[in-house]
């Protein structure tokens, strides 16, 4: 890091792990230490990591029933009771359509995406996270974060290439 970079606000500390299994063990240790603002990065979803990180199931599922109400407003009115079934196909398709909107846009809203840049992208080895590497990042906003202490902790639980990351301009 250059002298100018050191003045920037610290984003967090990153460490690389050898495999999904190592990452899983390390994640349990980070969770047990009581860290909250941290994440484990991997090229594919690792099942079981929710528990290892102390996370609950995604809340996204709860958004569907709300979207089910929309189609009722969109459709026209039946002329008499017996034609009601003729409206079902469109109501059904719209139900699916709005549920699709919720599921698709919901995932990006909840993941705070899209964004053009992120401090992690400044860390060159991180480019391999979409290939085969796995990392743990503990953010500086975490109440337990201390630059030296957190770095030591990540090394202690088996992290390699532990690096302090800074916010981009």
């Amino acid at each position: 890091m250059s002298a100018a970079a050191v003045k920037k606000r610290t984003f967090g500390v990153i460490a690389e792990f050898g495999s999904a299994a190592e990452l899983y063990r390390a994640a349990e240790r980070v969770r047990d230490q009581g860290y909250r603002f941290w994440d484990a990065h991997s090229p594919f979803p690792i099942h079981g990591l929710n528990e290892a990180m102390g996370l609950k199931k995604s809340h996204l599922l709860e958004y569907i029933p709300t979207s089910f109400l929309f189609p009722l407003i969109v459709r026209g009115k039946p002329v008499d009771f017996f034609t009601v079934p003729a409206f079902f196909p469109i109501m059904f398709e719209l139900t699916i359509l709005f549920a699709g909107f919720t599921a698709f846009f919901g995932v990006f809203v909840m993941n705070r995406l899209p964004r053009l840049h992120h401090p992690l992208f400044d860390h060159a080895p991180f480019a391999r996270v979409t290939d085969h590497a796995v990392f743990i990042v503990i953010e500086s906003g975490d109440p337990k974060f201390a630059e030296a202490g957190t770095s030591e902790f990540l090394e202690e639980i088996g992290g390699r290439g532990v690096t302090v990351l800074y916010e981009s301009d």
Binding site: A21, H41, P43, F44, L60, L61, I96, G100, A103, R128
Partner: protein, 462 residues
């Protein structure tokens, strides 16, 4: 008995990335340029045919009365059916936790999108005055008249547009982590910028993955009833009318089975080709092709059952017009359409009872091509052959396609293949992140060390 490995030859994650993300990074091979020149020419001539049609009028087609729906609607139903296998693979097999789908779902979903695009062209140009097509949109602007929400044709508009939208979401959501891989490996500025935009800043954090997986599950959950509803709705176009040969309650499941059958045939056609051309043999293995052949056999037999049941209902229904239309389908002037569909869709897939035929590239290709043709014959038999001899013998006519008919259809085949060629050239053809997740070392409880050779290789490459 251990299950066969999803990826053969103990390939590592890095090997998979190199294989699949390497395709968009390399220069396009010569065969790709030749192929896209041919398909692109057909697509362009198809556009010319459409412009000629719109300029002159629907009279340039071979349609007549009683065959007001002939070639165009046949092609519409043919294409929309093809898309269904993509959604079956991506949604229904996902819910069934069929891990083998990871090798084929991406290109099958792309196939769905491109097939739906081709399908949507035909009803739009069949309306004749295409500048009035916005009448199907639910806006009450012209004289405060709403479209008729109780018409199956309008149901189709909603079903097909919802299908396209949700299929696109599904496909794109799956693409995001893989496009991020291409972004992270990209060297050129243009590639970095374009793939960077498409990847939306994906970082592969587990906090992102858990929402991603839930969203994927929801999309799979809603796509499952959706895919069953779309072809059912298409079949309502026919089933709710009174024409013999159309007016039958068996249509929704019959159409859905046929759609999945025809779609799987197209998936096999496309995958066997791209597997050979890009050397994807370790990722798309014989086990995958074997399972897809079994689904083809199953759905082909369901289609066969529907054909026989139609015949039985015509006999048992005691309607002379209904009986006549089914005899006419196999023994009338269009007998070759009837036999084409029966041989292509019911008899040829029976080869797949034999394991050796499911694992031979030529027999699989032959059956898939017969099914592709057979499904088109089926649509023509249902739509055009049922219409050409209706209740009024004085209006019976034969239908002959004009060159505009033929080249419009050839144009959509060209468009479909052009889009597919662009897709396999510029985007990851196989869902890398999903294939990696079914590798043994993706399991967080997997402690078996990798073979030393692979570890050494990965370290030098990394």
């Amino acid at each position: 008995m251990p299950r066969p490995a999803m990826v053969e030859n103990n390939r590592s994650m890095h090997w998979i990335t190199n294989l699949l993300a390497g395709i968009p990074e390399r220069k396009a091979p010569l065969w790709w340029w030749v192929a896209i020149a041919v398909t692109g020419s057909f697509a362009t001539f198809g556009v010319f045919c459409i412009i000629y049609l719109l300029w002159t009028g629907v009279g340039v087609w071979g349609n007549n009365l009683p065959m007001a729906w002939a070639w165009g609607i046949t092609n519409f139903v043919f294409w929309i059916g093809i898309g269904h296998a993509g959604t079956l693979i991506s949604a229904i097999l996902f819910l069934c936790r069929q891990k083998w789908r990871t090798a084929v779902n991406r290109s099958a979903e792309a196939m769905t999108l491109f097939a739906v695009m081709c399908a949507a062209i035909f009803p739009a140009i069949q309306v004749g005055r295409i500048w009035m097509i916005w009448f199907v949109a639910p806006v009450p602007v012209p004289n405060w008249i709403w479209p008729n929400f109780r018409s199956p044709l309008l149901w189709d508009v909603f079903a097909v547009s919802t299908y396209f939208t949700v299929s696109f979401f599904f496909w794109y959501l799956g693409l995001v982590p893989d496009v991020a891989t291409v972004r992270d490996r990209a060297r050129g500025r243009v590639a970095k910028f374009c793939y960077g935009l498409l990847a939306l800043g994906w970082r592969g954090g587990h906090r992102q993955w858990r929402h991603y997986e839930m969203s994927y599950l929801i999309l799979a959950g809603i796509s499952t009833p959706l895919v069953l509803s779309v072809h059912s709705t298409v079949s309502f176009d026919f089933a709710t009318s009174l024409i013999p040969g159309w007016h039958t309650t068996i249509f929704p499941p019959y159409f859905v089975a046929g759609a999945i059958f025809g779609g799987f045939a197209m998936v096999l056609t496309l995958l066997i080709s791209s597997r050979a051309l890009f050397k994807l043999h370790d990722v798309i293995t014989w086990n995958h092709i074997d399972v897809m052949c079994k689904i083809t056999l199953l759905t082909g037999s369901m289609v066969g059952y529907s054909y026989c049941m139609e015949f039985f209902v015509a006999y048992y229904g005691a309607d002379p017009f209904g009986r006549y239309i089914f005899l006419n389908r196999y023994f009338g002037p269009y007998w070759w359409v009837g036999y084409g569909m029966f041989i292509g869709n019911v008899l040829m897939p029976q080869l797949f009872w034999v394991r050796a035929f499911r694992r031979n590239v030529w027999t699989v290709y032959l059956v898939a091509m017969c099914a592709n043709a057979g499904m088109w014959f089926e649509r023509f038999a249902i739509i055009a052959v049922s219409l050409h001899r209706d209740f009024l013998p004085s209006s019976w006519q034969m239908y002959y396609p004009t060159w505009v008919d033929i080249f419009t259809f050839a144009g959509t085949i060209g468009l479909f293949l052009t889009l597919f060629l662009l897709f396999i050239r510029f985007l990851p053809t196989v869902a890398m992140s999903e294939v990696k997740s079914v590798l043994p070392e993706a399991d967080p409880h997997h402690y078996e060390p990798l073979p030393a050779k692979i570890v050494a290789m990965e370290e030098t490459q990394a």
